[in-house]
């Protein structure tokens, strides 16, 4: 009892020194008393951000879909969005848990006494902000250095795009059904940075379910699609007439590349490079 | 000596754990009206289904001398008409369409009804006083009206042997009397009618009576036979009074 009292007093003194108040994307404020040593991340982009900021060794558990960098694959996998393994997380005794904004376990974990911070980067600005937030949590002094490095990578990719490819109208298909990446989506932002155009205007939102006829009418010069969706794309009714199909300007991304392109995170520069390479190769 | 329309020897009919029928030896005379009576659960409906070939049984039924299994389906359907109890469904069809279904065994599979079919349907519906609502949907008819349409369906088959299970359900006395007149007319024309009846006083008017209890046939013979009356009293209880009224036998629980 006495020990507890002394510990509390010490904590109260130590607290102002390194404690930080973090306001997460849901508006919830969490007090993190010290840089966490045991971190759980339940979103791949947050996992990558933590590692990028040099705290990879402090990760004790990640979600099922986190697969980069390679070393996180050795960590306990804590499930996906719907079936997060709360028990396992509690057993890991993390100092802080990073979750997605749409996660359903945040309340449960907080009720169990854990510190939960909800972040979900969806755009370039988000990535920068989340880098800063996580940097603050981890006590990393210059998270913005990482951001500048990423930005430089993106700009380099943009510079590598030939003049011919600028303004090229691109159609990026994200999922069957068919769903397209709009101008305001993350992929759309990357395309814009690279100087390419998008047949989906901003008012349709980030991932509209688009009428296939619209794509034919818009006649993109380049199509970007994941490997699974690429099958049968050229045989879709009327699509043989599309400029991109006629000229064979279809970039098919492998699943790993698809991951990079879809995750707004520290590998943004790589995403830009993948897209830039596609633009370079197809516009010969 | 009248011919035998149908002869059945059934060792048993078993469903699940229970024997619904056991040791049945039944002869249905041609050109006669046979009534089957018995308390609830005696197996009357099961017997009717079994001899119509609609229920699997351990035994053999012979229709006009031939085993039932040897009859091609449609030929048998022309020879033997069957009408069940409490049939639900067919609510959306018109009464005439329902009666015309009785002519299915007579016409080629996909052929539309012929004039002969229509004539037979009209005759049957006239006999049951249901012609007036032939264009109405079955679902919009009352219980009694519906029953008369279903009766007409069975009659439209014009089969030499007609089996009917509780044909008088929902029918009030005037229509019951009409039904009996109808039966008499067909019997006079040489057909055989078998009806399972709850109404004991009507069953006693039949030419031939079969009494069932607990899945067995207890007694069969003429309704006027004193042995039959004894058997009836044994089955239905001593309070059953069988008396003659205006020359006819009547049964009353008193």
């Amino acid at each position: 009892m006495l020990e507890r009292l002394i510990a509390l007093l010490l904590l109260a003194v130590a607290l102002p020194a390194t404690a930080v108040d973090i306001k997460d994307d849901l508006g919830y404020t969490t007090t993190v008393p010290a840089p966490p040593q045991r971190i759980v991340s339940l979103l791949p982009s947050l996992t990558e951000t933590v590692c990028e900021l040099g705290a990879c060794a402090r990760l004790v558990g990640v979600d099922r879909y986190s697969n980069f960098p390679a070393q996180v694959n050795a960590l306990p996998k804590l499930g996906g969005m719907d079936d997060t393994n709360v028990e396992l997380i509690a057993a890991l005794k993390p100092d802080v848990v990073f979750v997605a904004v749409s996660s359903r376990v945040a309340e449960r974990l907080r009720a169990l006494g854990m510190k939960v911070i909800a972040l979900e980067p969806r755009s370039y600005r988000d990535v920068q902000r989340v880098l800063g937030t996580i940097g603050t949590v981890l006590g990393v002094p210059d998270a913005q250095r990482v951001w500048r490095y990423i930005e430089a990578g993106v700009n380099a990719a943009a510079a590598s795009v030939p003049a011919k490819a600028r303004g090229l109208r691109v159609y990026y298909e994200v999922a069957p059904g068919i769903y397209a990446a709009g101008t305001v989506s993350f992929m759309g932002e990357t395309l814009t940075r690279l100087g390419a155009g998008n047949i989906i205007p901003p008012e349709l939102g980030p991932f509209p379910k688009i009428n296939p006829e619209y794509v034919v009418k818009a006649n993109p010069a380049l199509i970007m699609v994941g490997a699974r969706g690429a099958q049968g794309l050229t045989e879709r009714p009327g699509w043989a007439q599309i400029d991109a199909v006629r000229r064979g300007r279809i970039c098919v991304f492998k699943p790993e590349e698809g991951d990079i392109l879809a995750r707004p995170g520290p590998r943004m520069a790589e995403a830009a490079q993948i897209m830039a390479r596609c633009l370079r190769e197809k516009v010969q | 000596m009248s011919a035998i329309a149908l002869q059945a020897r059934i060792a048993r009919v078993r469903i699940g754990e229970r024997d619904l029928l056991s040791d049945i030896a039944l002869s249905i005379p041609q050109g006669r009206w046979t009534a089957i009576v018995g308390p609830n659960g005696a197996g009357k409906s099961t017997l009717l289904r079994a001899i119509a070939g609609l229920q699997r049984c351990d035994g053999e039924t012979r229709l006009a001398g031939r085993p039932l299994a040897n009859w091609p389906a449609r030929e048998r359907a022309r020879q033997l008409a069957w009408m069940g109890q409490q049939e639900t469904g067919a609510d959306d069809l018109t009464a005439l369409d329902v009666v015309l279904l009785g002519r299915l065994p007579h016409r080629p599979w996909l052929a539309p009804p012929t004039s002969a079919d229509h004539a037979a349907a009209k005759q049957a519906m006239d006999a049951t006083q249901s012609w007036a609502w032939r264009e109405r949907r079955l679902g919009s008819l009352s219980g009694g009206e519906r029953q008369r349409v279903l009766l007409a369906r069975a009659l439209a088959v014009q089969a030499p042997l007609t089996l009917m299970d509780e044909p008088l359900a929902h029918l009030d006395p005037p229509h019951q009397a009409e039904w009996m007149a109808l039966v008499r007319a067909r019997v006079a024309a040489g057909h055989a009618i078998v009806s399972v009846l709850h109404e004991l006083h009507l069953a006693l008017q039949a030419d031939h009576l079969v009494l069932m209890a607990d899945g067995r046939i207890l007694h069969s013979g003429a309704p006027a036979d004193p042995a039959m009356h004894d058997a009836l009293r044994r089955v239905f209880g001593p309070s059953l009074r069988i008396v003659q009224l205006e020359g006819r036998w009547v049964a009353l629980p008193l």
Binding site: K209, N211, G229, G232 | L104, W109
Partner: protein
């Protein structure tokens, strides 16, 4: 309101034709300007086959609904009720997971292959239900068995998507119904299946009529029940499987079309099957046109529209049945 069958058929086909016209004239860009050359491609290669395809899928579902309601003597029967949809869904999920083929494949071979797989899955689902229900005699048992089989097969489908998570999106699109990529190949496959199923259904329709009086009566009228049931289940599975393979799960069309026809025109099953096909085609196509036009150039999943429209229709029906004086 009672129509004669021939008149109602003409009416439904006319509505269908109008809907095809609407389908050709509207789309991602509103009313088409027929002078624009570039539109010719869109009209003939995209909108026409898509509209005809939607009509075919609706006709297949309407037919399957009429057959299943007659066969199982239950006005609530729906092409998806007896494990058919869950069976088709599971088969498609397994095929997608194992072969990596996109659910939106439009080539003839893939269309045929996927249709075949969905058909097999439909048969398997229905067969399982019938085995569980031990025959088609007892309606309640049949419906319960259908629910059980549906739940179990759906669980297996979820398992498949867990094991191969990249088919999740494809399955989602599949589940909500999708007419977006129907081409002439899909139309051909569906039309062929439709004709086959229609012929079988019409051949067996006298048996369905006899069945309305009950199984025993039908047997007493000389109907060969086992053979007829098999034929009808084949027709039912073929139409459902073909529709599901091409457009995914589209709610309510199969349930509502025969109801609509029966309300307007009480008739024997031969006409009922034909009329339900025409009604289903018109319904699904109309829903597709709405789905394409309301938030163009985006589109709603067509299954959503049919669920809304079908649900409202059934609510109105229930309200009228329950109203006093009826």
């Amino acid at each position: 309101m009672n129509f004669r069958p021939g008149v109602l058929l003409a009416l439904l086909l006319a509505v269908g034709a109008l809907a095809v016209a609407a389908g050709v004239l509207t789309g991602s860009t509103g009313l088409a300007s027929l002078r624009d050359d570039g539109m010719a491609l869109i009209l003939w290669e995209i909108r026409l086959p898509r509209s005809l395809g939607a009509w075919c899928a609706g006709a297949l579902l309407g037919m399957a609904g009429a057959i299943s309601q007659g066969l199982f003597r239950n006005p609530l029967a729906d092409p998806y009720l007896l494990g058919s949809a869950s069976g088709a869904q599971l088969a498609v999920a397994i095929a997608l997971a194992l072969t990596g083929v996109s659910a939106q494949h439009s080539s003839l071979l893939a269309s045929l292959g996927l249709t075949g797989i969905a058909f097999v899955g439909t048969l398997a689902g229905v067969g399982l239900t019938l085995v569980l229900a031990r025959g088609v005699e007892q309606t309640l048992r049949l419906l319960l068995a259908g629910v059980v089989v549906g739940v179990v097969l759906n669980a297996l489908t979820n398992l498949a998507t867990l094991w191969a998570p990249d088919i999740l999106r494809a399955m989602q699109a599949f589940l909500l119904g999708n007419t977006g990529l129907l081409g002439w190949n899909s139309v051909a496959v569906m039309a062929a299946c439709g004709v086959m199923a229609l012929v079988v259904g019409l051949l067996a329709s006298p048996a369905l009529d006899a069945l309305t009086l009950g199984e025993f009566t039908a047997a007493s009228l000389g109907v060969q029940l086992p053979a007829v049931r098999l034929l009808l289940i084949f027709a039912f599975a073929l139409s459902t499987g073909a529709a599901v393979a091409q457009t995914g799960i589209v709610a309510f069309v199969g349930l509502v079309s025969p109801h609509l026809v029966r309300t307007l025109c009480p008739t024997l099953h031969g006409w009922l099957i034909l009329l339900s096909a025409a009604a289903g085609g018109a319904l699904l196509l109309a829903a597709d046109v709405i789905a394409r036009t309301v938030i163009r150039p985006q589109e709603l999943p067509v299954g959503l529209v049919t669920a809304l429209v079908g649900g409202i229709y059934l609510l109105i029906l229930m309200h009228r049945r329950g109203a006093p004086g009826k």
